[in-house]
Symmetry: C2
Subunit: 248 residues, 2 copies
């Protein structure tokens, strides 16, 4: 048993794709999270319920395997399930399939519940989890370790947080981190490679007007072109990631 599955169709609009006409990482996460919100609403544990408990969901980690990104106008099928949870962590899976049923993307994620009162993490509320039929587990699921970037060898671009980077929760929507991470790479590198996997872990929140530093280092790991990333505001790390690439 691994949680009740929720499925929806999604047609990729042109404005969620990049110069290659492929869904961007930021838009991928947007549409996956949208599907999970729809599941929460369907099961009557959506925003309203969370608000009444003064609670919010916060993602702490994504691990993505990308066979290929769907292209503009493609009809995709999105599937999600709240697989399991322990005292503090909820594990949710997402799949994106193409029309022929091929798995394009698989994402594992970790969410925690945050109290809006104390702005800190609280134990998972079992009543919220019940309708998902997720497995209650004792231990923690292992996600691959994200190796620290070597700041000495990294290059860096700076990004000022803009008004439209801020969402209804009054802080930067973390999908923007993908744009800052990837944009820090060279144009030619981005044109010649495509992402095959992403591991990202989130830390401190970022506020309007702050200057963020997006550091990137290119390394070969077992013959795989890999980039290590860090988005920070001064000494505070907002996200660290490891991305694997293949030549187009």
């Amino acid at each position: 048993m691994a949680g009740k599955q929720y499925t929806e169709e999604y047609r990729i609009p042109y404005f969620e794709t990049d110069i290659k006409g492929e869904l961007t990482l930021a838009s991928l996460v947007n549409v996956l999270i949208l599907a999970s919100e729809h599941q929460l609403n369907d099961l009557n544990v959506g925003e309203e319920t969370m608000h009444s408990l003064n609670l919010g969901w916060v993602v702490t980690q994504y691990q993505m395997t990308i066979n290929r990104m769907p292209k503009v106008d493609e009809k995709a099928r999105i599937v999600t399930e709240a697989e399991s949870y322990n005292r503090y962590f909820c594990y949710r899976n997402f799949w994106l399939y193409d029309e022929a049923g091929n798995e394009c993307v698989f994402v594992q994620s970790i969410f925690v519940m945050m109290s809006y009162e104390t702005r800190s993490m609280v134990p998972v509320v079992p009543e919220i989890m019940a309708p998902f039929e997720s497995m209650a587990i004792k231990g923690s699921k292992r996600f691959p370790r994200i190796k620290k970037i070597d700041s000495e060898k990294a290059s860096q671009k700076e990004y000022r947080v803009r008004y439209f980077d801020i969402d209804g929760n009054q802080h930067v929507n973390n999908v923007h981190y993908f744009e800052w991470m990837l944009d820090a790479l060279d144009y030619d590198f981005l044109m010649d490679h495509r992402v095959t996997s992403v591991n990202i872990r989130y830390g401190h929140e970022i506020q309007y007007g702050q200057m963020t530093q997006s550091q990137v280092e290119q390394v070969m790991v077992d013959d795989i072109m890999t980039t290590r990333h860090k988005v920070a505001v001064g000494d505070l790390s907002a996200a660290e990631a490891e991305i694997a690439w293949t030549k187009r």
Copy 2:
């Protein structure tokens, strides 16, 4: 007779809304253009036809009246029609209604046809226009004049064009101009006001890596809080706009 109308439903996802939970100007234009592309496809004069003729559509001007922006999760109805055209200009209208049938947004626009061969404007191809049942007109439709910004009195922010600002046409998708224009305003101003009308005219294209200057000037016009905007790359103007606001 004012052109065959095309209608579609659209539910506003959270990631197309701002800190207030309202559809952003950039996303508004994205979803309107998406509807017009769907009409083009329905009438068999879509991208494929245009590509075979080595032609593309370029918008030169929008005039928007915004009664209110739809909010996250609202179901909107989008209507569009290619109203009329003369030798060089095509006039297309868009409406966005809420579920109760109230008009939220009305947009008039001017499009031209561009040759990919010469990268310049060509006379409208009548075969492309035929299925829209648009009116062929002699004169030009008048759009309100956009008054020049007073650069002496304007404030300015700079934006480096990022990889994800570039679309499949290899240049900056012009919806990003709205972000640069509005972000140049103060946070408090944006929080306290909402847009009631936009007039924008496009000029030179912008390329990857360029630094753009977004200038803004606040003026009162007939008791209406108005901002004048210019997005430029050095001496080249990419867009000029006049936006009217009301207190929230």
